[in-house]
């Protein structure tokens, strides 16, 4: 009599692993506290007969272990696809031949599946382990972050996928070997009804010579395969963007495109402050606009300047010379008014489909900033985007807001550019809890739907509140590492938040009660 279908099929393609390591991998499945599983081992024609002997012995010891012996070596995707074809479980769990499951891995996954009947894909946190069994490098992953997945394969292990969905998409693509798992997860998540992050370390990635865990550089071809996988995903999703190699191995950068007639309103409140940057005197507003126009190819731009009537006439005429007459909207507003009031005023007088809220103290650092900042808003589930802001010393000033530990944080503030190169969440685009309005793009319909900025908030809590309104309405907020601006002190900075402002934001969102941020959980 055949066994009823188990909840999990653990799939392990095998090709010439060290014998002891393979035995430990199999043991880590056999010692699961949750017992409703099958293990499908696929030997991809290992050169060492000893490997097959270990596999046969394991299959003989436990009737939940099945062995498929391929007659020719076909690579990891072909072997994995054989395993998928043989899987009886409702879900498959992917386990590499040299890694380890924690003993509660399948049990924890089973409890999450029971609580989320529509879940199609789950991924857990993971760590690394060295030859001596020491655990290190715990990777606390963000909650489901589709933009981050486009930028790098972050879900990795342990990945559990509904078998029917996996079969529907046709399993692994062997033309993308090296990044076949990234490609698979992109295709799975395109169709998944629910994707779930399981915030427990359930997988131990063993650091062996030549493994991807040890060095991405050991498999440079994986990077190009990953880039092709991301591009194919963008094409399937009809996202107008080009996937490029990112700033670090295994990362990708999305170069966005905008329809030429997509009207964008830059809303810039200003007092016309003049200051010194790098020993040179400048009018912040003029430099902000000059760099904004110079570093974009997009031309359908309207510039709405909300200016202090006490500002010099000369500055206004300078401005009029710089910006074509029909693209410039000048709105007078008392300098003492709050930033949120000025931005709302500017937004009300603007006509763009997308609004870019911009401090007059910025200077754009990278080309195509507007395309990359506004482009994501063409995906209708993205509500707002923000930029990487650095100060005059080029240290990180803003990398998205994070909410937790009883407050609102600006993670990585003060981190030097050199240090930032080692922190992957500072290198690539990703979801975040909120962004600063020193540079933020919001689709007009979303801005109006949430009521713009709260004018009862005079401090930068207005940013926090706007972000919460947008994300609570079901939109994604993105922080974009490839949109980089200097943000100098222009004298238009927000005053410190009053206790009453904290109370208002907390009454609305209860941010103080949040234990950790969903996108930067380890911060």
């Amino acid at each position: 009599m055949s066994r009823p279908a188990p909840l999990f099929s653990v799939l392990t393609p095998v090709y010439d692993p060290p014998i002891g390591v393979l035995e430990e991998t199999i043991d880590s499945v056999r010692s699961q506290t949750f017992e409703d599983w099958e293990l499908i081992l696929v030997d991809d024609r290992s050169s060492a007969e000893a490997v097959r002997e270990v596999l046969r012995r394991a299959a003989g010891l436990d009737d939940r272990i099945r062995l498929i012996e391929r007659t020719v070596n076909g690579g990891i995707s072909a072997a994995s696809n054989d395993a998928i074809g043989a899987a009886h479980g409702r879900f498959v769990a992917l386990l590499d031949h040299d890694d380890l499951l924690s003993s509660n891995a399948l049990g924890v996954m089973a409890s999450f599946i029971a609580e989320h009947p529509d879940v199609d894909y789950l991924y857990s946190d993971e760590d690394k382990t060295d030859a001596s069994g020491q655990h290190f490098g715990r990777f606390c992953k963000p909650d489901w972050s589709p933009e981050f997945l486009r930028s790098q394969m972050y879900t990795c292990h342990l990945s559990v996928i509904r078998t029917s969905l996996l079969q529907e998409i046709g399993g692994f693509d062997s033309t993308l070997d090296g990044s076949q798992d990234h490609d698979l997860v992109l295709r799975v998540t395109e169709r998944a009804r629910e994707v779930l992050h399981v915030p427990y370390v359930l997988y131990h990635w063993r650091l062996l010579a030549g493994s991807t865990a040890g060095s991405l550089g050991a498999k440079p071809q994986a990077w190009e395969a990953g880039r092709r996988a991301v591009q194919a995903h963008l094409d399937r999703m009809q996202v107008s963007a080009t996937a490029l190699p990112g700033p670090a191995l295994g990362t990708y950068e999305l170069q966005r495109e905008l329809p030429p007639d997509y009207r964008i309103s830059l809303i810039i409140p200003t007092r016309g402050t003049v200051g010194t940057v790098g020993g040179e005197e400048r009018c912040f507003l003029l430099e902000a606009i000059r760099s904004a126009l110079d570093l974009t190819d997009h031309s359908e731009i309207e510039i709405v300047v909300v200016y202090d009537p006490l500002m010099s006439e000369g500055l206004l005429s300078e401005l009029a010379k710089m910006v074509p007459h029909d693209c410039l909207v000048l709105i007078p507003c008392a300098g003492s008014a709050s930033l949120s009031y000025k931005l709302n005023l500017g937004a009300s007088a603007s006509s763009g489909e997308a609004l870019v809220l911009l401090s007059d103290g910025v200077e754009i650092r990278r080309p195509r900033w507007l395309e990359n900042l506004v482009g994501p808003l063409l995906e209708l589930d993205v509500g707002m985007t923000g930029a990487r802001l650095v100060d005059s010393a080029a240290t990180i000033q803003h990398a998205g807001y994070a909410y937790g530990h009883g407050g609102y944080l600006s993670p990585f503030c003060g981190v030097s550019e050199e240090e930032a190169e080692t922190v992957s969440v500072l290198l690539v685009n990703r979801e975040c809890s909120g962004v600063s309005t020193a540079c933020a793009a919001v689709r007009r319909t979303v801005f109006e739907q949430v009521g713009g900025l709260c004018e009862r908030l005079h401090s930068n809590l207005a940013d926090v509140d706007l972000s919460m309104k947008v994300t609570s309405s079901g939109y994604r907020a993105l922080w974009l590492a490839n949109v980089e601006l200097y943000n100098f002190e222009s004298g238009l900075d927000c005053p410190p938040a009053l206790p009453s402002e904290y109370e208002l934001v907390d009454a609305r969102w209860g941010v103080a009660e949040r234990e950790y941020d969903p996108y930067i959980p380890s911060y």
Binding site: N344, L345, A347, S348, A349, E448, Q449, V450, G451, G452, L453, C454, E455, D465, M468, K469, S472, S473, L504, A507, R508, W509, G510
Partner: protein, 128 residues
């Protein structure tokens, strides 16, 4: 809250109607220079009114969204409190049941009889 939102919406509609009326007036007539200036001024005034109304709509919508968020948060808090309370009530009832069961047991009654005798003897000792 509803009237707060509907009022600016009505004002926006009115402003749009006036704007359209002014624009159609301009295209259908040979306006004199003075008439044109007057028309431009009127147009600017209506556009300003439209912006002002849009701005008021934004603040009203912010109040609306904020209040909804506050209500949702209070509801969640209430649910948690109710859950906690019912859990405590349940625990309290279980403890009371346990206590009643214990008091009804033979060992409790024997112990109680002994303790009451000891109390009586202790009281007697104090009197002497």
């Amino acid at each position: 809250m509803d009237s707060e939102i509907l009022d600016p919406q009505a004002r926006q509609l009115e402003a749009t109607r006036r704007l359209q009326a002014l624009l159609s007036f301009g295209s259908g007539q040979d306006a004199t220079s003075a008439g044109l200036d007057d028309l431009k001024a009127k147009l600017a005034a209506v556009v300003e009114q439209l912006h002002e109304t849009r701005h008021r709509l934004l603040t009203s919508q912010d109040n609306f969204v904020g209040s909804e968020a506050e209500i949702a948060r209070l509801r969640r808090q209430l649910e948690v409190e109710i859950g906690e309370r019912s859990k405590l009530q349940h625990e309290c009832q279980s403890l009371q049941d346990l206590l009643s069961e214990m008091k009804a047991s033979v060992s409790w009654r024997i112990g109680n009889a002994i303790v009451s005798q000891v109390r009586w003897l202790t009281g007697l000792g104090r009197k002497r």
